[in-house]
Amino acid sequence: MTTERLRGLSDEELGRTIRASGPAWPTTPSLASIVTERIGETERFPQLRPRLSLPSRRRTVLILIAATLLLAAAAVAAGLVVRIGAETVTVVPGAKPTLPGDVLSREVLGRAASSPAEAASRAGFDVVVPTRLGEPAGVWTGPTPPDAYGSAPVTRVVLAWPATPALPTIRGLPWGAVLMEFPGEANLAAKTIFEEGGGIQDVTVEGRQGLWVTGEHTITLAAADDRAPVELRVTGNVLLWQRGDLTLRLETSLGLPAALDVAASVP
């Protein structure tokens, strides 16, 4: 038998032939107990809710313990993946490679809105504005695809403020502050931080776990429809935290205390 015979089959016959030619499946691992053990481990550390794409449960346990003890150092050592709401943060050992040339721009932020209220009506959630920053100069909404859980597509909102003497320009950007707001738990953004030249610190924002990230790194934003995610270079300092159902990402050139002040001014 040759491919000529296969090509000569009708669709129905070819389908039957494919069905009869099933591959030699590898043995399915006993996933049930491993999955429930992992759920049990995660329940003990609910504040982390990690996404651990690691090869074995043993490493998972080690990393969970390490992250609880000292997030930054352990994270760098192990190549930790931490999830905060809609954003996944991966810490990669070693020096940073060549980062993407593109930075945040109006083009990648989506559709401009005239005000946070208009953005809220498009996005379907209450857009928050830190009182310390006042009214933003720019507002955008960007659709994101439904996640793997089959949840409805959501809309992210981005607010930007111009630089002022008290709010220095973020290197490479035309703004002094950028606040991204992601609703829900869908995986809408991913951040990669490099051990050398980068810093990550576990912080508390309004009583909730947050992360403070310094040094150039990358962020990958989920794109709408089937378009490829957009990978961008991040030059500012980033405070990442959750507030209710929202994941908030504040990028500025401020230090941590000032950034926390801004976060605390979210009504």
Binding site: T2, T3, S21, R49, L52, E185
Partner: protein, 184 residues
């Protein structure tokens, strides 16, 4: 879990309320499908195991958002496929998926009469061609012919309208013919 086996919907309801044992039962029911789906999309058993494991953990935490009354099987397969695709993209440089034909006289499944009649060489050529297909086509063919999903389940798992399943399958079959050397 004594007495009659619980229906998926009952187990889902219990799992939504935090019953991990009920969820373990669901994992046990669908681990084969999940692992095989992931294996079709990734390049190795290890990657498939990780993808399936990760998907089941994520699905547990997504239970509150699971639509009541919806079938669990295509929902979990959608999560598994998404996880596997993400992993597959990270290892895209590897060689095309090598699907090895099951031996005609061994394995878990009893070969159909058609399978018994096929020459091993031809079967391997067919599987090689399927392995060279883009993951989108490979998944459609895998769901339909290897994993025997209904069109309704395929629509849910592929996140498309039921009417689209036929056209996707037709397109994948045409691509397969092209891989076999014929006209698409």
């Amino acid at each position: 879990m004594e007495g009659r086996p619980l229906e998926d919907a009952e187990l889902v309801g219990l799992a939504r309320d935090g019953d991990v044992r009920a969820y373990e039962e669901l994992v046990g029911r669908y681990r084969d499908l999940a692992f095989r789906t992931a294996w079709l999309l990734t390049r190795s058993s290890a990657e498939a195991e990780d993808a399936a494991q990760e998907a089941f953990v994520k699905a547990y935490y997504a239970m509150p958002r699971f639509r009541p009354g919806a079938p669990f099987k295509p929902w979990i397969l959608r999560i598994v496929a998404n996880e596997a695709k993400n992993r597959g993209r990270s290892v895209r440089r590897r060689e095309a998926l090598a699907l090895r034909a099951a031996a005609a006289d061994t394995g878990d499944a009893v070969p159909s009469p058609e399978a018994a009649a096929l020459e091993r060489e031809e079967r391997q050529e067919l599987l090689d061609a399927i392995g060279r297909l883009p993951e989108r086509d490979r998944l459609v063919i895998g769901y339909r012919y290897f994993l025997d999903l209904s069109e309704a389940d395929m629509a849910e798992a592929l996140d498309c309208r039921p009417g689209t399943v036929k056209s996707r399958l037709s397109r994948a079959t045409a691509h397969l013919r092209a891989e076999l050397g014929g006209a698409p």
